[in-house]
């Protein structure tokens, strides 16, 4: 094993990366989001998507949905590290439950004329995207779905005059009658 002179043990890890969606129930108090984000940046974890909003204002509870990637060992670490934070109530790995629904909302602005405009409208209809703003030379579409569907829609809009996209990030919830 050839490695640079170091007092640390430098290793290559070969486990494949996985993508997991985590739901984190937290006390909604100042700094709580900074704690969660700081954990990810401080320990070198990835955030692919982050969605956060207060969900129960009476109890001051917020729900954070994080899509992250890492080896199985890293994913396990992320969950434990989140769970031991003082204001964190619960961490649920939605990917492991295999019974979760994931949705994202995107607003997609497309500018074009003639055939492009007609084609954009036609595709939007196929994707069940709604027109929420229109001018004589542009549309803003609202589309909801899983990440793949939205990616696909955006890709299709690209040659038709895509101007910009605003996405909410993933929100996830478990199927069935039980809460998290």
């Amino acid at each position: 094993m050839n490695q640079p002179a170091s007092a640390y043990f430098i290793e290559e890890r070969h486990d494949p990366n996985e993508t997991h969606t985590l739901s984190v129930l937290v006390q909604n108090e100042p700094g709580v989001l900074a704690r969660v984000i700081g954990l990810f940046s401080g320990r070198g974890y990835n955030i692919e998507s982050l969605t956060v909003s207060e969900t129960e204002s009476q109890k001051h509870l917020s729900r954070i949905t994080i899509v992250t990637t890492g080896t199985p060992m890293v994913i396990e670490q992320i969950k434990h590290q989140l769970d031991r934070m003082i204001p964190v109530y619960r961490v649920v790995d939605m990917t492991l439950t295999k019974r979760s629904i994931e949705r994202e909302l995107a607003m997609v602005k497309v500018r074009g004329e003639g055939e492009h405009r007609v084609e954009a409208l036609r595709l939007a209809d196929a994707f069940r995207a709604r027109v929420i703003d229109a001018t004589t030379e542009s549309f803003v579409f609202e589309i909801t779905g899983n990440t793949d569907k939205i990616n696909q829609f955006i890709d299709l809009m690209r040659p038709l005059g895509l101007v910009e996209v605003s996405r909410t990030g993933v929100a996830a919830i478990g199927r069935g009658p039980e809460g998290m």
Binding site: Q3, A7, R35, M73, H80, R84, P87, Y89
Partner: protein
């Protein structure tokens, strides 16, 4: 006047802070005043229940509080002002986080209406200290202060202990509000550390232990943090099972160094027998340790043939570095008690005579060997002499970080927990002197010695002044080799002996320095004078700087070279130039 003004629980924020300290049994705090904490200092002035120790630098307050906490098992408390006062606390807070030390830091902040304005001595204290505390709080309303202070003490001392910080703006200190004594509802409902171990896991663990042919117990600082009962149970478990035991740097003293099952410390500079036992064992019981990289060596070659049981109160310590077979989450003391109960009821002491014979062969390699000299003091010899001179005395040892720290761990035998205060995780040079101040405050009549290096000790030397002011007779035992010894050793072993900036060309005269501070200076050069000088140091009832001139180029062995496994240790008798070059060959190729 309304009735409210007669309510004894109506008080200013500053008064609440002192009141909360008293309610949590705090008798000593370490701090440094400044603009944003003056109301608190005014309250401290007007009472006598909490003694305040004035340090010379806020970092000293933090380390002193750490030493206090580690030597008593009670939380240490530091009080600092806003801005630089708070930023100077970052090192001790991080140190306490890495080593799981309960620390409560109260910092002043600029008035709430100035927060975010770049006011004088303003900094984002909660932002800066968020990654280096277990939790922290900014209190914007005086009526939240009591709750936050009580929660701070609870969080610092329960579960895996750690540092917390409460940031209190000056206007909140002045404002009047309602105080309440500690109550359960002060704590986040989301915070509930698990104490009791899972019964099924405990049974699995006992089954593994009972069937072991080549077992080892690997204990850590968690046993000491758990309290005296955990230490007692650990010793009983060793007795009942007859298993060999090793420990991390942080865990020294939980099992006595004079005990017959003791293998010495493990890890990078651990003993050969400890590391070989870890490597070749078939069942490993890890209690309150975290498989740190200084312990494991090369991870993919770490104890390859063993089933591993891991007891830890922090679930994030499980499977972080090493995959274990039987994790048990909960308090060490609690779980050790359960394991013992099941073991005694259902298992027999396994026959491991052959294993002990193997260990005896490893032990016979005498991995802590060093060549004594009549001309120059060997640092290992200095520690041994210090140990012999203080054996049986009521002694507490702190250290700085580097070679002297490893030699202290190797050659000073600890019989009891809470007697050994060292910066393990963070490796903070400058920890030992202020930590000794804190230990001596907690144990005024005990012998408190900081085993120091000449480089480390200069990082927080100013706390000598604190020791003199409070008549704290700490002994600073400096192994003076004029180098940053561990840096020099690595440069020799890994960087072609190019000693880049590891030599201190302008060393102060430590004897004169001690005298300038109002302490006592002792210098010794010759091995023959060492014992007498140590006796003199011990008998002096004042702070002492002991300048022990030692061999300047001595290396700390044994050593696991980087990228190597436990069974590839470099032993002192093999550490000639050729073998050393070979052991570090992987590194040399790229130098």
């Amino acid at each position: 006047m309304s009735d409210k003004s007669h309510d004894p629980n109506q008080m200013t924020g500053a008064a609440m802070i002192v009141r909360a300290l008293i309610d949590h049994g705090v008798t000593d705090i370490f701090g440094y005043p400044g603009g944003a904490v003056l109301p608190i200092y005014d309250e401290i002035f007007q009472q006598s229940e909490v003694q305040h120790i004035l340090v010379r630098h806020e970092q000293g307050a933090g380390h002193a509080a750490e030493g206090y906490a580690r030597s008593t098992g009670r939380p240490g408390v530091a009080l600092v002002t806003s801005g630089p006062g708070a930023t100077n606390m970052v090192t001790p807070l991080t140190d306490a986080l890495m080593d799981s030390i309960p620390l409560v830091c109260i910092s002043g902040q600029v008035p709430t209406h100035l927060i975010g304005n770049d006011a004088f001595q303003e900094c984002d204290t909660v932002g800066i200290t968020r990654p280096c505390t277990k939790h922290n709080w900014l209190v914007r309303d005086v009526n939240d202060l009591a709750k936050v202070l009580h929660e701070a003490f609870y969080v610092a001392t329960t579960g895996r202990p750690g540092p917390v910080l409460v940031d209190v703006p000056k206007d909140v200190q002045f404002a009047t509000g309602t105080y309440h004594p500690p109550r359960k509802s002060d704590v986040h409902r989301s915070y509930a550390p698990r104490v009791k171990g899972d019964a099924t896991q405990i049974r699995k663990a006992v089954a593994l232990l009972a069937g072991a042919k080549r077992p080892v117990i690997y204990s850590g600082g968690g046993v000491i943090n758990s309290g005296p009962e955990a230490t007692r149970l650990l010793r009983e478990l060793v007795e009942v099972t007859g298993f060999p035991i090793t420990s991390t740097l942080m865990g020294l003293g939980a099992y006595p160094a004079s005990g017959k099952s003791w293998l010495g410390m493990l890890g990078m500079h651990g003993t050969y027998e400890a590391n070989m036992t870890m490597h070749d064992c078939d069942v490993m019981l890890c209690v309150g340790a975290r498989f740190d990289d200084r312990i494991t060596g090369r991870v993919d070659a770490f104890s390859p043939g063993s089933k591993k049981i891991h007891i830890d109160i922090d679930p994030s310590s499980i499977n972080k570095n090493i995959r274990v077979d039987v994790p048990i989450i909960g308090d060490c003391g609690n779980i050790l008690g359960d394991i013992l109960q099941v073991f005694k009821a259902e298992a027999k002491k396994p026959d491991i005579k052959a294993w002990w014979q193997q260990i005896a062969q490893w032990r016979a390699r005498n991995s802590l060997y060093y060549r004594k000299s009549n001309d120059v003091i060997l640092p290992q010899h200095a520690i041994q002499s210090l140990f012999e001179a203080t054996r049986g005395k009521d002694t507490y040892i702190t250290t700085e970080v580097g070679q002297h720290q490893m030699w202290a761990a190797q050659f000073y035998g600890f019989e009891e927990p809470h007697r050994w205060m060292t910066s393990g995780g963070l490796g903070t040079m400058g920890y030992g002197l202020p930590a000794a101040v804190g230990v001596q405050v907690a144990h005024p009549d005990s012998l408190v010695i900081d085993i120091a290096g000449d480089a480390s000790v200069q990082m927080t030397m100013q706390e000598m002044s604190t020791a003199v002011q409070y008549e704290l007779p700490i002994k600073i035992f400096i192994l003076n080799n004029q180098y940053m010894g561990m840096v020099r050793q690595w440069q020799q072993l890994l960087h072609g002996n190019r000693l880049s900036h590891s030599y201190s060309e302008a060393m102060p005269d430590f004897v004169k320095l001690a005298e300038a501070y109002g302490g006592v200076g002792i210098q010794v050069h010759k091995p023959g004078d060492l014992d007498g000088a140590i006796q003199e140091m011990i008998s002096v009832k004042r702070p002492v700087l002991f300048d022990c001139r030692v061999a300047s180029l001595e290396n700390c062995f044994p050593m696991i070279p980087s990228g190597k496994a436990h069974n590839e240790m470099l032993l002192p008798e093999q550490a000639n130039d050729e073998a050393t070059a070979k052991a570090f060959a992987g590194g040399k190729a790229l130098v």
